[in-house]
Each structure stands twice: as structure tokens, then as C-alpha cells.
Symmetry: C2
Subunit: 346 residues, 2 copies
């Protein structure tokens, strides 16, 4: 008993009276190697009995493949946000019998190169670069020789990438309000830089474009577009508060993310407004808090887990270009008919 030495191919060979070659051939069932049915059975039995598992180090050395993929992120691991991205990556990698090395650069882009370097030193077969917020980034040139896939990111050098389909989501979210009869709609969380500079965001532009397109289809524009920076609860709170005291009070608002919506809820509740009776709210992200709010927040989910899965498939399976992953609309209780039109039907 106790922990004896690892079981090696040689042990299985000895136990069966065959050579290492034969055992290897059988366990990997190479076509063309004509071993007797009897030998096959004996080897399989012995391997199972001894609990033989090939040493991955030895395999890597011989085959030049590590069956390892590197996942490099800015701060995905840390945030409540996108740990789902990791889950997707991990899960799919496991299905494809790969191991995932995880490293983080934090907010500092300077750390990207050394982190990539470390993964290269570990001989990763491929690398996924994932970001918390979809941005355009530069992939350091050291990464030549390995395949790189961008997750929630894009690059001027055109590496294959996975992004959420924000334009469709924008349309769908706007339609939540429009279909309920709203025509006086305000956007909380406008951002010129995010909408136009891919270095700030590659997706927000599409998100806004989708919203605008849906409004245009029914011939309206936003009542107002309130810029907020950054998209945190306190900003949503202040924007909402000001709006309620302003001249143009909408019947529905679209928040650029759930944290802004969270702040807007606080301001509405303090002012005694009821959601969705007095005001409808929709949003983007499907952050954890969206389900805690009362009433629950209707929002367009960023499908982090799905995106993570796709990234692994793209990395290992091959393929180029941008891949858009659909964003599900999570319908909760924050949308109602506009005030004063209780009997409205679309």
C-alpha cells in the first residue's frame, strides 16, 4: 500500500509479456498495426488493472504538443462579471481534453507581453486573449507561431475573434419598450468615446446602432441621451434624479448597463416612483444584481459562457474572422405599459 511508483508503459508491457511498442500501438489503436485480438484484450485488461495513465510530460516531449491552452485576460478572473467566460473556456477545453493555463495582466497592457511570454515558455498550443469589456487591442508580435484567438476583443491585425452580437441585442432591447407602447424613451449612459473609438469599445457602437435603428423603424428618436461616465450605480442614480426633476420625463428608459439601471432604480424608489407602473427600465449585461432588483430587471445578457466555449472551439477547430454570439434577452418585471395608457396594445 501507500503511494508506489507511477505506472508506466513498461509496467503494462511487462505484465502482458509484450513490448512497449505493442502496448503503445494498442492503447492508441493505430490503424495498420496488426496485433492479435488476444494481445489487444490482454493489454487493455492490464492497463485498466494497473491504472495506467500516460505521462503527459513524456507525451508532450515526444509529440511536441502540450494539449494546453493559455487564457490571458485583463481582469476577467477577478470580476463577478465575466468569470462565466472562464467557466465556458474551462469546460470546453476539458471536453476537448485540453488543460487551461490562466494568467492575468490586470489593467496594465504593459504586462501583456511578459504574460504571453510565460505562456509561450510553457509551450501552450494556442492562446485566448480575453477582455472584460470588448475593446480593440494590439497582440504583441511575440505571439507568432502560436494561434491566438480574441475573446470579447478584436485587433487591427485581424486575429480570429469572438464578440457578442450587440446590434441585434440593441434592436431587441429597444423593442421591449416600443412593443409595450413606449414612445418617450431616454438613454442613460451615452458615451461618445465608447461609441466611436474601438480602443474604448468595439461593441458599444453596435449596441447604440441597434437601439437607434429600432427607434427609427417606428419613426422616433431618443427623448434624450444622457452621458454618464463611468457606468457605475452612482452615475445612474444621479442621472435619474436629475431627469425626474427635468422638463422631459420619459415613460421608459434604456440603461447602457445593469449597474446604471441599479442606480436608476434607487433614484426612482427614493422619489416614490413604481417600476414598471410609473417607469419602465431595460438594460444590458445581465449582471447578478439584475435578478436581485425588485422588480427584476429586463436586460440583454452578454453570453460570456457561450463566448468562452466558442473561443475554445475556434482556437482548436480552426477558422478566421469575427464570430458574433447572440445575446439572449432576459425578460423580468421591469417593463410595463407607459403611464396613462394602461389599456394600450401594440
Amino acid at each position: 500500500m501507500g503511494s508506489s511508483r507511477r505506472v508506466t508503459l513498461a509496467d503494462v508491457a511487462e505484465r502482458t509479456g509484450l513490448s512497449k511498442t505493442s502496448v503503445s500501438l494498442i492503447l492508441n489503436n493505430r490503424p495498420g498495426s496488426r496485433l492479435s485480438a488476444d494481445a489487444v484484450l490482454r493489454v487493455q485488461a492490464a492497463a485498466a488493472e494497473l491504472g495506467y495513465r500516460p505521462d503527459p510530460a513524456a507525451q508532450s516531449l515526444r509529440l511536441g504538443k502540450t494539449r494546453t491552452i493559455g487564457f490571458l485576460s485583463d481582469e476577467v478572473t477577478v470580476t463577478r462579471f465575466a468569470s462565466a467566460m472562464i467557466r465556458g473556456v474551462l469546460d470546453t477545453a476539458e471536453q476537448r481534453e485540453h488543460t487551461v493555463l490562466i494568467a492575468e495582466t490586470g489593467r496594465d497592457p504593459q504586462k501583456t507581453a511578459p504574460a504571453l511570454d510565460a505562456m509561450l515558455a510553457r509551450r501552450a498550443d494556442g492562446i485566448i486573449v480575453g477582455l472584460m469589456g470588448a475593446k480593440e487591442i494590439d497582440v504583441p508580435a511575440i505571439a507568432s507561431g502560436v494561434r491566438v484567438v480574441l475573446l470579447n476583443a478584436s485587433s487591427p491585425t485581424g486575429e480570429p475573434s469572438i464578440l457578442p452580437d450587440e446590434e441585434s441585442a440593441g434592436r431587441a432591447i429597444a423593442r421591449q419598450l416600443l412593443d409595450a407602447g413606449h414612445r418617450r424613451i431616454t438613454l442613460i449612459g451615452d458615451s461618445h468615446s465608447a461609441a466611436t473609438d474601438p480602443r474604448v469599445s468595439v461593441t458599444v457602437g453596435a449596441r447604440f446602432a441597434g437601439l437607434d435603428a429600432a427607434l427609427a423603424e417606428v419613426g422616433i428618436n431618443f427623448l434624450e441621451r444622457v452621458p454618464v461616465e463611468p457606468w457605475e450605480p452612482v452615475g445612474g442614480y444621479e442621472a435619474m434624479q436629475k431627469m425626474l426633476n427635468g422638463p422631459e420625463v420619459p415613460t421608459g428608459i434604456i440603461c447602457s448597463n445593469d449597474r446604471l439601471a441599479f442606480g436608476a432604480y434607487q433614484a426612482l424608489q427614493e422619489a416614490g416612483w413604481r417600476i414598471p407602473n410609473d417607469m419602465s427600465v431595460v438594460s444590458f449585461d445581465d449582471d447578478e444584481i439584475a435578478s436581485y432588483l425588485r422588480p427584476g430587471l429586463t436586460t440583454a445578457q452578454i453570453p460570456y459562457e457561450e463566448m468562452g466555449r466558442h473561443a475554445v472551439d475556434l482556437l482548436l477547430g480552426g477558422g478566421e474572422g469575427r464570430h458574433l454570439v447572440p445575446m439572449p434577452i432576459i425578460i423580468r418585471g421591469s417593463v410595463g405599459a407607459p403611464r396613462g395608457t394602461e389599456g394600450f396594445t401594440s
Copy 2:
């Protein structure tokens, strides 16, 4: 140009005109190997110039060490909760030049054994088993031969473990209210099973014991202990609502976690109570939402990142027994003087 072959020890040897042996000796600067100063310099220069990096697969094979640690968790990766735990693990592992393999079992304890097995198959040098909520678990016997450290968990078999110091935190949190003058205090989120059954929680008992001890020091007991199951916002909301309409309304409440406190906030705000003027609230966890609430929630932080760091140090550095990590008290704006005693000083 392009990706030429990997640089190996043999390349460095050839470039310097020395043998692989000498190069290896120099790069690992073995004591006792008396290579000339000139040779040392040449080798170092050549290695740097060629960008030589030892192949980890070859090293693992030869040395029998993979410099890899496995991190197996129930659902840490996924939750907003404890991804900080991973960050701590990752960061410390990197400092110690180790790679981390991450795997998840989900809620299903049946998956633990196969997941451990997969890590063993990859020849991890050691394994950390981390849980989202601190519980007692069984470590499958397969894990013999590798060192296992429990993170936010303990086991009947006495593996070394890292846990938060909940008793001290319980005392400190209670004192937040006591020192502000509160004597009518209610607990939201009592749980008999969590307090007494280590399979449900190993820490909640200590947390409650700390609270009780602090109250006892000033000669009081809880006004009421409201059981809630599970500890989610809706439970806190309902408990608070009922309490406000009940006979025994406290001046301060202690919630067993931040999500309960979140629900309690919602009920208080709906009822028109002001925090901290009309009611003080303290809690445990320091979930992300604790900082979003208005006013910010005073809470005892579970130091996930610190715990992750300690786990790696414990795994790699050796040591036995339970290690308690202090829980910082995060003071925000949810505690004030009890209603009607504005001038009170302790």
C-alpha cells in the same frame, strides 16, 4: 524569419562550443561544478541571445516535478463571490513559479473524485480544494501521494486548511452596533443547521459564537433571531418587512450576509425608513453589492484573495493544521446612533 524551431540546450551548446552538460550546469548554476568564468559568461550571453527557455515537458520528465498545482473548486470560478480566491492562488503560484490547473465540480460532490483524478493524471505536484461556502468535506482517498490543502473548507481527515477567522469577525461586527449605542439588536439569517452541522458550514457557528460573545459582554441577547433560508435577497426583504410590522422592532440589525442585507434595505426603503437614521445595518461577506447600496453597507469581509495566497504558501511551503485568516471590517455608512438617542456617546 517566421517561427523557426524551438531553441534547445543543444543549440546553446553548439553556439558556445561547449557540451550540453556544461551549459546545463551553468544555467542552473550548480555549486561544485567548476566551469571557467569565461565559459559562464559565454553561455549566459548565448542563452540570452538565442532566447533559450528550458522546455518544461523535458524538465518534468527528467525531474519528476511538474511545477503545477491543481485548484479544484465547487463553484468558485463561476461566482462573483470568490473569484478573488482564484486571483490569490494564481498570483502567489506565479510568484513561486508554478502553474495552476483549474477544474470545477459544480455542486455535485460526485464529480470530485474524477476531477481529482484528472489532476493526478496531469501530475500536479499538489492540490488545493476550494469551496465557495466553508464546509466540511471528504477528500477522496485517490489523493494519496499528493499534498492536499483545503481552502475555505475542512475535513475529518485533518488535511491542512485555510479558513476565515469568523469568530473575531463576529465580535467585531457586533461591536459596530454596540459601540454606536445599540442594545435592541435582531439577527436576520439564523440557521440552526449552518450553526451546528459542519457539513453545512464550518464557519457560521464561529460567526454566531462571536456575535453572541460580544452581546454577552454587555449583558444582552438578540432581541430576536430570524431564521431565513436560503440567504438570498428575497429572504432578507420578507424578514425585514415582517419585523417592521411586528411587536419588537430593533434599532439595529445584523444580517448573516450581504444579500440578506440587500433585501432588508429594499424593505426598509419601501417602508420609508432611513438608513442609518432610523435603522442601522451590518453584515458579513463584503459582496460587490455592499458598495453599491446607498448608504454603503458596513460588513465583515471574507478575505478570499488573502486566503488563496495562504493556501498556495501552505501547499508549497509545508505546514499542518487549521490556519485562520483575519476578516477586515469594511466600514461604510450603514451604522448610526439608535433612534431617539442622537446625543449618545459610548
